[in-house]
């Protein structure tokens, strides 16, 4: 089993675990972190595929996608955090329980 395959499996395991986190965590902060880990696992998948297809250098297209994705992930999580903080300061809630 090569290094890339190992990381490929790791990405799969991480994805499933993070998905569990998204469903089972109640606190906004934890949910957002879980979504971030979910994203990281997808990035890991892409980069290990790039490593598998490496010739002289690793496939640069997935790398570029991942770098772009990182910035997008950060902006999305910042937006999510802003919403969560707003809900906390306005309604004093940290999860979607009770009414929802």
């Amino acid at each position: 089993m090569s290094l890339a395959t190992l990381y490929l499996w790791l990405a799969g395991a991480l994805f499933v675990m993070a998905l569990g986190g998204v469903f089972l965590c109640r606190h906004f902060l934890k949910k957002i972190i879980a979504v971030n880990i979910l994203g990281a696992s997808v990035f890991l998948l892409l980069v290990s595929v790039a490593r598998r297809d490496a010739g002289e250098f690793a496939d640069p297209v997935p790398h570029a996608m991942v770098i772009t994705g990182l910035v997008v992930a950060v902006s999305a999580s910042a937006f999510a955090l802003a919403l969560a903080r707003r809900i906390w300061t306005k309604a004093g809630r940290v999860n979607f329980e009770e009414e929802f």
Binding site: G20, P60, L81
Partner: protein, 297 residues
């Protein structure tokens, strides 16, 4: 994660991850954690505290059943995922194609070539996403002046101050180095931009007031500058060559560097604005609550 990227021959991703994932996201999450842990505040009818609750809270039979169902679903999903990974065909990817055209792209580093030349559309729109997210964050809170920095008035942290005095120039210098290096080695606009943002955040935390100088249109221009530069280039090349975001022969290197410079500045300022806005938006609330308490007494 950064170490994993390095092992997978992805130093560019490692640099970006170390700066964004570990640095910037960490700062954002810790700042949010501080907000969630603060007791007392705007709303009176607060349900529970902001404490981070345990992962799973089963309420009787129904709750346990739901959790078991979710776990079962995850297991099934994991099975499918594993099967998909097993049957995934080895395609060979686009490595060869990317390498073949490297000579024409104006840069010597394949990842930069993909980001700024082959797929510059993605990079452009990604800066757009950043700007949109920033606008979203701005909309989600009250309006506060971007430049109101109250850190300077409070107690000063000597250690942080010393660290900032040492690190900020270093970070800015590293950002410039990475930006330049992106042409022929791992590095580039994203990494440089994030380092710039980090330097700005550090400066803000010690009460630096350089943002006052950016009041009004200055910082807004810096925020959308990268996006605008790409758009301008796209329109000019559309008019000139009939292709959106194309580079004339021989000019690619110079143009890419200019675009990268704009993108790095934009990314840096956008990330800085995100943090500063979130940070400052919750700060005055504390002083307001304190005044309220005084009135009650």
């Amino acid at each position: 994660m950064a170490i994993a990227w390095t092992r997978l021959w992805a130093p560019d991703v490692a640099l970006a991850e170390a700066a964004i994932g570990a640095g910037l996201l960490g700062v954002l999450f810790f700042d949010s954690l501080r907000v969630f842990h603060e007791r007392g505040g705007a709303s009176r009818e607060r349900k529970g505290t902001g404490e981070v609750t345990p992962v799973v809270m089963a309420k009787g039979w129904a709750g346990g059943f739901v959790i078991a169902l979710v776990l079962l679903g995850l297991l099934v999903f994991a099975g499918f995922l594993g099967r998909a990974l097993l049957v995934m065909p080895a395609s060979g990817g686009l490595t060869e194609l990317a390498g073949k055209h490297l000579g024409e792209s104006g840069v010597e580093h394949p990842v930069t070539a993909v980001l700024l030349n082959y797929r510059s559309f993605d990079t452009w729109l990604e800066i757009g996403v950043l700007v949109v997210a920033m606008l979203g964050v701005f909309c989600s809170g009250r309006l506060v002046g971007f430049c109101e920095n109250e850190n300077g008035s409070g107690e000063r942290d000597r250690l942080l101050e010393w660290l900032a005095r040492f690190l900020v120039p270093l970070l800015v210098m590293m950002a410039g180095y990475l930006l330049w290096q992106g042409k022929f080695a791992p590095g580039g606009a994203f990494q440089a931009g994030v380092l710039l943002g980090a330097a700005g955040i550090l400066w803000h935390l010690v009460g630096g007031r350089f943002l006052v100088a950016w009041r009004g249109w200055g910082w807004k221009t810096a925020l959308v500058g990268g996006f605008g530069l790409f758009l301008l280039h796209g329109i000019v090349s559309l008019w000139w060559a009939g292709v959106f975001l194309a580079y004339p022969e021989g000019w690619a290197g110079t143009l890419i560097f200019l675009l990268e410079l704009g993108a790095a500045l934009s990314i840096g300022f956008a990330l800085l604005a995100l943090f500063v806005y979130l940070h400052e938006n919750d700060r005055p609330r504390k002083t307001r609550a304190r005044e309220k308490r005084r009135e009650v007494r």
